[in-house]
Symmetry: C2
Subunit: 411 residues, 2 copies
C-alpha cells in the first residue's frame, strides 16, 4: 500500500517547530508494516488542494495533518473535499456537539467557530477528539483512503492510536500484526547487526527497525506471523542478553528507579562533570523521591573535599579526574546519605583540559555500596558538552542497573 503524508503549517516551514508529526507517523506506520513513500509540507491555506490532488493520484493512503480548526486559515477540509471530489456537508447535530464540548472544556467558543466545525466531508467516518473540538475524518473512495488529523500533537496522537490504527489494521487484514520493542545500551547499531543480522534472516516475515539515539539503540521487531515474531524475539533476547535494558519502553532512569523501588534500595549521586544531569534524569521519573533524596554537584576540588569528604591526599596523588577520586566521591555520597548504592562521576567535559591533566573526554565513574567501591574509566570523543554529559549519565545509570540487578559489569 503506497502511503503519503501531507503536513500543513507555516510554523513547519519557517523553522518555528520541528515536524514531530512526520516522525510519529513514520514510526507508527512502520509498526503496521507500512512505509511513507513521500511527504510534503505546505503552508497554511496555499496550494494545499493541488498538493492533495497530486498525492491522491499517486497513493492509496493519504494522511493529512493540521488545518482542521475553526480559524480562517484552516482550510484542510475544503481542500481535501476538492482534491478527492466529494462534497462538504453541514451537520447541524455536530454544531450542537461542538458547543457542548466548548462548555465542558471551559473554552470560550464562538457560534461561528462551532458552525465551521460542523462542516464535514460527505460519507466521512468521524474520529472523536477528546482533547479539542476538531474531529478527525477518514474518507474511503474508489479503493483509496484519506485520513485528516488535527495539528496539535496531543490531539493527533491519541486519535491516531485509538481510531486510525484499529481501522487501518482491519483494512490491512493485519489484526495479527505483532510488535516488540527492545532498548539497549552499550552496543552500536552495527555491532548489534553483526550479532543478530544473519540469525534473523531466516524469519522472512520479520522486520527489524533500528533507531539509534544518543547512548542507546532501540530495536523494533514487527511481524504478522506470530510464530516467527516470537522466535525472532527469543533470538534477540539470547544474543543481546543484558545489553537490553528494557522491553516495555522504559528509559534507563525509569528502569533504575523502578528496580531500586522494588528492591527497597536507596540511591545517591555525586556529580562533577555531569553537573547535575544524572540527578535531573533520576528525578524526571515519578516516584523517584522514594529512592533518591541526596545528590551533590561538586564542580571543584574544594566542594569535593568539604561536601563529600574526598581525602585531600587522593586528589593530590591521583588528581581530580581519576578512579580513586570517583570512588571517594561515591563513598562520600554513600556515607552521608545512608543510601545502598552511590555513584560518583568526575571527568573533563572540555572544550579545554588542564595542563598536565587527562585530555578532554576522559571520565571516571565510581560506584560504592556498603563495604565496597569500584571505578570504571570512560572515554568519549567530546562533541558538545550536553552530549558528553548525557553519555556519561547513560553509563552511570547502566552501572547502577547492573549493580541493582546483580548483572556482571560490561567492559
Amino acid at each position: 500500500m503506497r502511503v503519503e503524508v501531507v503536513n500543513t503549517g507555516n510554523e513547519l516551514l519557517s523553522g518555528r517547530v520541528l515536524n514531530h508529526h512526520l516522525a510519529f507517523l513514520g514510526r507508527e506506520l512502520f509498526a503496521l508494516g507500512l512505509r511513507i513513500a513521500r511527504q510534503v509540507t505546505v503552508p497554511d491555506g496555499e496550494g494545499l488542494s493541488e498538493v492533495l490532488r497530486e498525492a491522491w493520484i499517486r497513493c492509496e493512503l493519504l494522511v493529512v495533518t493540521g488545518g482542521l480548526g475553526p480559524t480562517s486559515d484552516d482550510v484542510t477540509r475544503r481542500a481535501a473535499a476538492e482534491a478527492i471530489g466529494v462534497e462538504l456537508e453541514f451537520r447541524p447535530e455536530l454544531e450542537a456537539e461542538v458547543c457542548r464540548t466548548y462548555e465542558s472544556q471551559g473554552l470560550r467558543g464562538t457560534e461561528w467557530a462551532a458552525r465551521a466545525q460542523a462542516w464535514v466531508l460527505r460519507g466521512a467516518k468521524l474520529l472523536p477528539n477528546p482533547f479539542g473540538t476538531a474531529w478527525g475524518m477518514i474518507v474511503e473512495k474508489e479503493g483509496k483512503s484519506i485520513v485528516l488529523l488535527p495539528g496539535p500533537p496531543r490531539e493527533l496522537q491519541p486519535m491516531w492510536r485509538d481510531h486510525v490504527v484499529p481501522w487501518l489494521k482491519e483494512k490491512l487484514g493485519v489484526r495479527s500484526l505483532f510488535e516488540h520493542r527492545f532498548r539497549t545500551f552499550g552496543l552500536g547499531e552495527s555491532r548489534i547487526e553483526d550479532r543478530i543480522g544473519s540469525l534473523l534472516r531466516k524469519f522472512r516475515s520479520v522486520e527489524i527497525g533500528y533507531y539509534e539515539h544518543l547512548g542507546e539503540v532501540e530495536l523494533r521487531v514487527v511481524s504478522s506471523d506470530f510464530r516467527e515474531w516470537e522466535e525472532a524475539i527469543e533470538v534477540i533476547r539470547e544474543r543481546l542478553g543484558d545489553w537490553i535494558f528494557s522491553e516495555d519502553g522504559e528509559s534507563l532512569e525509569e528502569v533504575v528507579i523502578h528496580a531500586a523501588r522494588s528492591l527497597g534500595k536507596k540511591l545517591a549521586v555525586a556529580e562533577s562533570c555531569t553537573g547535575g544531569l544524572l540527578a535531573h534524569r533520576l528525578t524526571n521519573v515519578p516516584g523517584s523521591s522514594l529512592v533518591f533524596t541526596f545528590g551533590w554537584v561538586t564542580y571543584g576540588a574544594v566542594a569535593k573535599v568539604q561536601e563529600l569528604g574526598v581525602p585531600q591526599e587522593v586528589l593530590e596523588r591521583w588528581g581530580e579526574v581519576s578512579g580513586p577520586t570517583a570512588e571517594a566521591m561515591a563513598y562520600g555520597a554513600l556515607e552521608r546519605s545512608g543510601a545502598d548504592v552511590a555513584v560518583g562521576i568526575t571527568g573533563v567535559a572540555g572544550p579545554g583540559a588542564s595542563p598536565g591533566g587527562p585530555p578532554a573526554g576522559t571520565a571516571w565513574i565510581g560506584l560504592a555500596w556498603p563495604g565496597q567501591k569500584r571505578s570504571f574509566a570512560c572515554f568519549h570523543e567530546v562533541g558538545d558538552r550536553p552530549s558528553f554529559k548525557f553519555l556519561l549519565t547513560q553509563e552511570a545509570l547502566d552501572l547502577v542497573r547492573r549493580k541493582l540487578l546483580g548483572l556482571p559489569d560490561k567492559g
Copy 2:
C-alpha cells in the same frame, strides 16, 4: 522568489530522525526575507528525479539535502542532473583532492568512493566541505538555481552559512539585509505582540518572526531598510526592556554565567523539585566551573536539614514547599559554598501531591546573598515533569540574572 526544499533520506520517513534541516533552512531563509513554499521528503534513491523535476518547474530556488556521499543509495547528483537537464562530468583533479582529504582527515576511503565524488554537475559552483568529502554544488540555469547540500548537519550548516548565504545575498541584491535577534523571558507571545505590534506596523519593510519555546519567546527582526530596522529594534528594546535577556543569541544560563564571571561573583544552587536541572544547565556553559562549584539536590526533608542546615522548625511550621524553606535552602547553600548569590528551589512536580500540602504545580524559589534572602512564589500547570522543572529553572535563572545585573524583580 519561490523557494522549495527537497530532503532525501529513509531515516526522515521512518521516524528515526527529525527533519532538523527543514527547521534550519526555514529560519535561515526567513533571515534573508524568503519563505519556503513547499517541502518534500523522499526516500533515498526512489522517485527523487521526478520530485526534483516537478519542483524545478514550480520554483526559482531549489534546495536539496542529502544523498551526496559515495555510497550506493546516494543518487542526488544523478537525479538533479536529469531533473534540470545538465550533464554529469568527471573531474580527475577532484578525485585526487578527495584522496588527499581522506588522508588528512584520517578516513579510510576507497578508490571507488573517491571516484564517485569526482562526478559533478557541469558548470556547478563547488562548495567546499571542511567536515566531509562531499562537495556541495550550486547550478544556475535559465534564471533558476539548484543548491545541493550534504546530509550530515555538521557538514550542511557551515556550508550553508559560509557559501550559500553570501551567494544568495549577492543574487538577491540584499547585501544589506539586516537581522537582529531578541530572546525574552516572562512575557507570552501575545503579550509581546500587544506591547509592540501596533508600534511596529509603520515600519513597512520590517518583518518580525516570533519563535515560542518553553519558557521563552524569541524575536527575529529582519529588514532590508537599515533605518527602519534600527528604529524597530529601538522600539522593541524600549517596550520590552529587561524582559529581554539577550540580544546576541545567548541562552539564559549563558547570560548568568557570563555576568557572574565578569562581575567576579560565585553562584551556588540547592534544588529540590528541579532535581539537578538548574546545576545541569549552568554546567552546560563552558567556563562555568569558574563561578559555579557547589550544588545540592536535596530531594527530601532529611537531606535539606542535614546537607543545607534548613531548620527543622521551618519545615514543621511552613512545610517543605514554602517561601521560608526555599530561603533557608538558599541561605544554607550560600553559607556552605561561600558563594555571592545562592538559589533554593522547592516545589511539587506532581503528578501527585501530599495530602494537606500545596497542589502539584506549586513552587517557591529562594534567593540569598550576604546578609539577605528573599523568596518568590510560582505556579505552573503541571504538564510533564521535565517541562515543569525547566520552567522553574528558567524563573530561577532570570531571578539570578536580575540580582547580578541589579535589575528590579518582576511580578
